[in-house]
Symmetry: C2
Subunit: 328 residues, 2 copies
């Protein structure tokens, strides 16, 4: 089969490509070709038994999505996006990539010959929801109330995905990822960065700043769970989704305090001592509008699974990024 990954140079994209390369197949079908696209050329996996093309470009430019679907990929992972903080700071850029490029992709597929109807896995976000929320968790029928341009753009992506799927132009599934924790590497521009930072930095011997109170509660899943969501979304039968083809993914609802206690259990007091509390009113205000807890019944019924303890989430980071060794 032929797979296209848009946003392949990002953290999720790289981990997805690693997994697909390791397995060599998707849903029991052997991978014959993979195209990796991003704004900078993604690194090609080495020693794989299929053809790999890497391409760099701007998805919003005329003709770009047409070129990418010209060889009719069977499965398209659309992970490319301007992240929340950047989409808020750069209004036009956010709309250009998160809305226009997504629509360009769907249009390029629609305008292909009849008979071409690829599976498109679209990564949406819990940012499609904004406060105030119900106290008992956000259910599958809660309305879209984004409080950011990023959340607005992701919601529009979900709507287009559903309409294009309904019309038979493509076979779409949208997955609303929890906040991914623990993100490896350097901090990105996301305002949610501290959720990972307070675990990752101390584990790497560095100080981390915690800008909010320990009582702040949020919704997490590991990068490994996120990749499993993508693979499952690419291979499940979409018929049971009906015309509601975007799903809130399962996750784990924990407070910052619970994150820190998990870190203490896994790595000890000395590591936890590297967290410095420095309240930042701007971040505090942003985080107030964020969801705390979901009831992801539909996704769970369809077989999507996340971690059930934050200790497990930390362990995934230690396994994948630190070679399995808990540092002192």
């Amino acid at each position: 089969m032929n797979i296209l990954v848009l946003g392949a140079a990002g953290m999720i994209g790289r981990k997805l490509v690693e997994r697909l390369s390791r397995e060599g197949s998707l849903g029991g079908r052997r991978i014959e070709r993979m195209t990796l696209f991003d704004v900078v050329a993604p690194k090609a996996p080495e020693g794989v038994g299929f053809e790999v093309r890497t391409m760099a470009g701007d998805l919003s430019q005329p003709g770009q999505t047409e070129r990418l679907v010209a060889d009719r990929p069977d499965t398209i992972f659309h992970l490319a996006a301007i992240v929340s903080g950047e989409a808020e700071a750069e209004f036009e850029k956010g709309y250009r990539i998160n809305l226009d490029a997504t629509r360009n992709l769907f249009e390029a597929v629609r305008r292909s010959n009849p008979g071409y109807r690829p599976r498109i896995v679209f990564t949406s976000s819990i940012a499609v929801f904004g406060a105030p929320f119900p106290d008992d968790g956000i259910g599958d029928e809660f309305h879209h109330t984004p409080l950011t341009s990023y959340g607005t753009q992701k919601t529009i992506g979900e709507l287009l995905l559903a309409d294009y799927s309904r019309r038979g132009f493509l076979d779409g599934i949208g997955i609303r990822l929890p906040t991914i924790c623990v993100r490896p590497g350097l901090p990105n521009k996301a305002a949610s960065g501290f959720f990972s930072g307070i675990i990752r930095e101390p584990l790497n011997g560095k100080e981390a700043v915690l800008p909010v109170a320990d009582t702040v509660r949020h919704w997490h899943a590991s990068p490994r769970a996120a990749i499993q969501f993508l693979v499952h979304a690419a291979t499940l039968d979409t018929a049971p989704l009906g015309q509601r083809c975007s799903l809130t993914m399962p996750g784990l609802s924990v407070t910052v305090g619970e994150q820190i206690e998990a870190l203490r259990r896994v790595a000890g007091d000395a590591v936890v001592a590297r967290i410095r509390r420095e309240p930042d009113q701007t971040v505090i205000d942003i985080v107030k509008g964020w969801p705390e807890r979901f009831v992801a019944k539909r996704a769970e019924a369809l077989g999507f699974r996340a971690e059930s303890s934050f200790d497990d989430i930390i362990q995934v980071y230690i396994d994948e990024e630190l070679g399995g060794r808990v540092p002192g």
Copy 2:
């Protein structure tokens, strides 16, 4: 004040302009100028004490919305749309007008000098919701689940309106109109046409075809109520809306059978006898996905009011279109 009406040649647009012309003011401010725009030049009201410009064009064409906002209208009524049936039949046209032109309008406002922040009243639709629905009515927090391209486009319009309002580029309010009943004039391309047809045609001595069962329940308001919604939306304080600036309007939930019994009370058996039952499976299937009942608490708390009986809805038609005379 300066008012711009987009879609001024449509049924709602004409009735809005009639009312504004009669009153000469909006929210206590004297109207000095009104621009009426549509795909065909709207008829200018006669004998009014303010300047009227009429213009025809295509809102999706480059520069069109910029020209329309160049004189900085204080209030913009955005009623222009490709209706549901047509947006379904003509995919590209629907997106071009219902999505691109709406976005062009918001962009033209955003790109105007800082300090310009008009009230924009955007007519959305209950088509932003699609079955399955809760049995006890669709509340203000039910999610967007459009089952048509039109509903998708209106939902996207609501999302853009909210984001542009939040960013301070405009002062938006979206109103989700019930099905307007009784629509005057000739049938349009809307699949909902029969809800009006079974009242209007018999009252005008003509036969009407009823393609669905008498048990079909739907959500109605008169054209007069719709105009009052628009005027109220243009003049109320939008601060209490917070970042949820689109509202389901109040309406009346009745079955087709209840519509017919109201017609019998108002106009008698001979008029009702002009309704011919001719089931049409296509219409039956479409209508299955339509909402039956809303709980429009937010709009009611903000002072929006619809009719409380279908007899009243019929009477509005008789008053406005038949000179107050109930035909035999």
